[in-house]
Point group: C2
């Protein structure tokens, strides 16, 4: 039967694409509010219509199949429209980090060979400065600007009104590219990770299942949509016909207000947002009445104190791990029945691990950096975290060398150092380059940071290597104190660490102040390393 003569045909094969999600939800829930932004509301029928007009506009602007449309915008409805309208035109969506400076934006536009550039009025100064650095300019479309301020670009709304809606049509090939996301990274040149329709479709369905999205869910856009296409949630939330609540600028008071007003059920946020929420003045009185609010966070592991404070307000925290190269989350800390009965401290330690592969990722392992073989599941042996599956990027755009390096030997190599616990959960110990080697011993900067975060006066902390004549390197801590913290000395901090850590792991130096961050909110360790080196 191997040759059963039954080849794919029109009735039984179609290219997987998240485009289909909006078409279905607009058919099934045409009058349902799909998107809310302040007083503005769009139904699912309207969202589809606007996406069709955007596609029509791009085709009229002669954006060809497989060409790039860049977007520089915060979390506004037009950004959601772009997630459907751009691929509907057969083009590739390149959402650019809004915190980048003009040279970085210009570098991305040039590398991506963007044919059109959709810019929110609030970011027009950056966009204009970037465009001025380019030899070949993409066609400019401006969202929400008055005529004089449009910098020669089309007005988004006027252009949409005049455009002919494109008929709804998925890609011919599910391997076609749908998005191009430049990694901010913490060092080095940005690289453009290409996503295909198949991976976006599968990752979105995986997110729906992992996060428990349903037609009556309400999703708050605290996570920037330019960040790995909002971890594919623009497509996932739409897949089930749930509601998007747009939030262009985050602040604790506004977040609490929107959660209560719209009975928000789900949101994703970087750890820094969690810290912001629990330290907000409103946090003490917040208690959501409409049931637990699911919040997914990725990046640094949430310390127990954060878990506790979030749960007190009515959040239920899920810890995820991922990167731009795998459509956002690849890994999640799936809770086990038995954990519910544990004390917070114990549960916190288990929840702080990155966890297991997501449903739509095929495999995850920790590879010995020398032998390339999986490390033992002993919770001790460090290796490089690697994943494999349909939700790994196609590769880096116009960068075969980096593609081959990242996707060598059948794995996406994450560059993160991790251990594999006996229960199969991985725990990231550090970025490969963030490990501190002191007297021949490996010290995980994350482990030291975890202890620092437990100090009652410390709000944020980062630990890097400081060159040392005797030890090679020693840990150097940079800390930001809580606003209400009293007098705290370096000796206090070091003593606290010595009470909670092996002595060789404790910082020898403590620097107080604010921490430098990347455009995506990650602490810039390379800058701290330079500061530490300068300390001499």
């Amino acid at each position: 039967m191997v040759g059963d003569g039954l080849a794919p045909r029109g009735a039984n094969w179609t290219a997987l694409s998240p485009l289909d999600f909006l078409d279905r939800s607009a058919d099934v829930y045409p009058g349902k509010v799909a998107v809310v932004h302040d007083a503005r509301k769009l139904t699912y029928a309207e969202l589809r219509e606007r996406a069709r007009r955007l596609a029509g506009l791009l085709q009229e602007l002669r954006v060809g199949r497989g060409e790039v449309v860049s977007v520089l915008a915060p979390n506004v409805p037009e950004m959601l429209e772009a997630h459907f309208g751009v691929p509907l035109a057969g083009a590739i969506l390149n959402a650019i980090n809004t915190r980048l400076d003009p040279p970085a934006v210009a570098g991305i536009l040039a590398h991506a060979e963007a044919r059109a550039f959709i810019v929110h009025a609030s970011l027009l100064p950056v966009a204009e400065a970037a465009l001025n650095q380019l030899e070949t300019r993409p066609k400019l479309v401006v969202i929400g600007a008055d005529q004089p301020a449009r910098a020669g670009g089309l007005d988004y709304d006027e252009a949409l009104a005049a455009a002919t809606p494109t008929p709804w049509q998925g890609p011919a090939d599910e391997w076609d590219s749908i998005a191009l996301n430049y990694t901010s990274g913490t060092t080095g040149n940005p690289k453009g990770a290409l996503y295909h329709h198949r991976g976006a479709y599968l990752n979105a369905l995986g997110n729906v299942i992992t996060f428990g999205l349903r037609p009556d869910s309400v999703y708050l856009w605290t996570l920037p949509m330019f960040h790995c296409n909002g971890w594919t949630y623009p497509w996932a939330v739409t897949a089930v016909g749930a509601r998007h609540i747009c939030l262009p600028q985050i602040g604790p008071a506004r977040i609490f207000q929107l959660i209560q007003e719209h009975r928000v059920t789900h949101l994703c946020a970087a750890p820094v947002v969690l810290t912001m929420l629990i330290h907000a003045p409103e946090a003490k009185s917040v208690r959501f009445e409409h049931g637990p609010v699911e919040i997914a966070t990725g990046g640094a592991a949430p310390p127990s104190a954060v878990i506790e404070a979030m749960e007190r307000m009515g959040f239920r925290l899920t810890h995820l791990y991922g990167m731009t190269e795998c459509y956002g989350p690849s890994t999640g800390c799936a809770p086990q029945e038995a954990w519910a009965g544990l004390k917070l401290e114990e549960r916190g330690l288990l929840m702080a691990r990155q966890g297991v592969r997501n449903l739509t990722m095929q495999a995850q392992t920790v590879l010995d950096t020398t032998t390339g073989q999986p490390v033992p599941a002993d919770g001790q042996t460090l290796g490089e975290l690697a994943v494999r599956g349909n939700t790994v990027m196609k590769g880096y755009f116009k960068n075969p060398a980096e593609t081959d390096r990242a996707l060598a030997d059948g794995w996406l190599h994450t560059g993160d150092l991790a251990v594999l616990h006996p229960d199969g959960y991985v725990e990231v110990k550090d970025r490969a380059k963030d490990i501190i080697i002191s007297g021949g011993e490996n010290i995980s900067s994350l482990e030291v940071e975890e202890v620092l975060y437990r100090h009652p006066a410390i709000m944020e902390a980062a630990v890097v290597a400081k060159p040392d004549e005797k030890w090679g390197e020693t840990p150097c801590a940079f800390v930001t104190l809580r606003p209400d913290a009293g007098e705290v000395s370096a000796q206090d901090v070091i003593a606290f660490c010595r009470a909670n850590l092996a002595h060789y792991k404790c910082p020898r130096t403590v620097v107080f102040g604010t921490l430098p961050k990347t455009s995506t909110g990650k602490i810039q360790k390379f800058e701290l390393r330079e500061q530490a080196r300068a300390l001499g």
Copy 2:
């Protein structure tokens, strides 16, 4: 960028297959109880181990890749094992309806060219009689039989214990076949619908989302697993690491007991099971305390009285539509927010419709049977329901003519006559061949049956055409009265219909008695048509 040079590779492409679901759940939830059958329990780690051993056994029995393994068994754990172990061996699972007689079973074994035949001891007499009709016998493996009763077959448990577990490995091609299901149909020769790994994977994920399965869900196996592979729920429930509760023989008391004992959250059942539940003596006192129990039903539309009685007990009913040719459900009656406020009667009418395409089905339409064009969405114009997408079968095994007919012009033609409502929901009015043409008017037998079901004394009803000299055909009703019904005459029934239907649609003849059913519980209308014809 059309040619970006980024071809699929090991790190970022893997064939979609539901096999992966068990591998992941056994990794993530190794100690969790996956399957319960009476006092017997299997953890996810054990379920994977047994599937691996089954695959090893089949390979030792020299079942080749792409060859068929038939299984004749009720809903026991071994049937779940077969859903993973058979495809893990590279073979195709052919689950045979346990209600078939020996010649029908023999016909399937011969047509499928089965290489192995796994039979539950309780069905050994049928299996032996079937095997005696075959020239080439498949290798026999018997579940749960004492030695003398094994008919020369291997003992399943002994053979598994002796087998070498196969390493876990998905298919190389997601288009490879995973299952072969012979349609019972209500007339004509059985046809073998072939499913591929891609479709099974997608349909299972779609079911998880539509039915809201979560890791803490508990699924009761009231639906036979031989029926379209249990609508792909063996894979769907496993995908999220939920729990399977096996139920080899259904009866209301046992169903109520298992729901309460295991805090069942989800089950699927044919309409006849719903009727059985609401008429059971226990029904009056049943009230589930652990939250609504989701129950999906497909086949005939549930009348309002059934919806009401089910809801009173604590069930929440979802009405689905599907067929063997599309992995079970293709269509579901997605509830709308506004329906919650409606009176039961109105809500019942809306819920009785088959609804909208499922998330993983690409398109659904109703085609004019003459022009092949979509009918207007007026709720009136009859046409043939058609669906298209990745969850439509590859085709019929060794039957290119029927394959071409069923999958012509880019659609799976269901053979069901339906209307398209203005809100995009389809409503099936009849099987194409079940329509009654009286005096040139089309009469939907379903419409008449719906009225009959509302009669307080009627438990089951079916309406077919009876030849008539004057009118061509007239409706003839076959009804089964409720056990507690008093005296009811044909005139009473006809009068009830005339009070609720256009007169030309009312039955001219009423026959009392039990209704003949197919092996899957469908009423055999072709037999009733013959009876009606014989009435003269």
